[in-house]
Symmetry: C2
Subunit: 231 residues, 2 copies
């Protein structure tokens, strides 16, 4: 296959849990573009060194080497204009940039706060040292301390989802009348949690829960069938 | 004039400080639609009772009575399609809905936390009782207590602006290559503060500060020239 995605995996190669890789998995499925995914682990920097940096997703599309999920999505949109649009045009793309920024700077830190310790349990033994050290340096505390108050914090987290909730009260998808990249951005964060942690982020009565369930069913249940927890 | 906007005002009728009204003032200017604004105070519910509710903005456009800033913006976009677009199309409109939800549920509570006590000083004597009572009920504490820690909290507020900052690193306006309703939504919140409080929300080196300055210059300095503080 001439389209390859390096995709963050756990000890079990079927466990794919990067929120950024999930954005691109969903984006490729949205465009109907088949892809071969290669399980990649945190410490395998040399395997993606050809991309000039050390983070996934890395997509190699007919020889084009791409990284950074936002840049990959924009590239796919420009390269495959005849396929279903991810953004619905330049204005949709520009406005989705804000949602992408919100996910990166507000949503992801929240989810890390709730589930990051659990990630340690699903990655390879040889990656655990790197993961613990790099994350503890970032958070300034141990992984255990970082998630210690999660039963209390999850209530605050659910309040922080209010922008998503209000949007979904007004329209069925974050992208509008049909799903689009805006949905995959936010969904990626939930899928990251779902594929690594049994901790329950959402209450069943929450419109965000119902929306997440609908995203999981897209593309023949691509996200639903991924190895993860029933939460 | 056949286009009238009921616009929240302070004791000085020139002081217009509703974030939601500013969204619409800017949207009307964007579309090049002249408007007569009528200063309106919190307790003058009867003056807008014809709209079927008690909040501004209320826009009367050639006999069409409109309220709710988002609904007004969408109506203007649909009613005046030949004028410059606020959203750049349906996908832009849908994606901007998330930004609108974020402003309402995350940005506005932050700004209220920092400046709401100062609003008391700029409204009419006869409105102060209503304002204090309704807001203290909402916040569950006195206005003075609510803003007491603002010198410490403003540091957290600036971090909460990171989605705006990241977006502005990637593109000149929140709406993309040119200003649009996405910008007016966020700007309205800053103008609300600027028109009521001398408290400094933004540091001068912040890209958000530079963006706000650029929005203030739009439409011949419509927002710049409004009665407010130099912050």
């Amino acid at each position: 296959m001439s389209r390859i995605l390096y995709d963050l995996a756990g000890a079990d190669p079927a466990r794919r849990f990067s929120p950024f890789c999930w954005r691109i998995r969903m984006a490729l499925a949205h465009k109907g573009l088949p892809v071969e995914t290669i399980p990649w682990r945190f410490t395998e920097k040399e395997k993606i060194a050809f991309s000039g940096q050390g983070l996934v997703p890395v997509l190699v599309d007919h020889g084009h080497v791409l990284h950074e999920s936002w840049d990959i999505a924009c590239w796919l949109e420009a390269r495959y204009p005849d396929r279903p649009s991810l953004f619905g045009g330049p204005a949709g793309q520009a406005a989705t940039r804000f949602l992408n920024s919100w996910a990166d700077s507000a949503l992801h830190p929240w989810i890390a706060r709730l589930v990051v310790r659990d990630i340690l349990d699903v990655i390879r033994q040889e990656d655990k040292g790197y993961f613990r050290e790099s994350r503890e340096k970032r958070f300034g505390t141990t992984l255990e301390e970082w998630v210690a108050e999660r039963d209390r914090l999850v209530v605050e987290f659910r309040k922080a989802l209010q922008p998503v909730r209000l949007t979904l009260r007004a329209q069925p998808w974050l992208a509008g009348a049909a799903p689009g990249y805006a949905d995959y951005i936010v969904f990626g964060a939930f899928q990251w949690a779902r594929c690594t942690s049994p901790f329950r982020l959402l209450e069943e009565g929450d419109p965000v829960f119902a929306w997440r369930a609908r995203v999981m069913e897209l593309f023949g249940g691509l996200a639903r069938d991924a190895l993860g927890y029933e939460v």
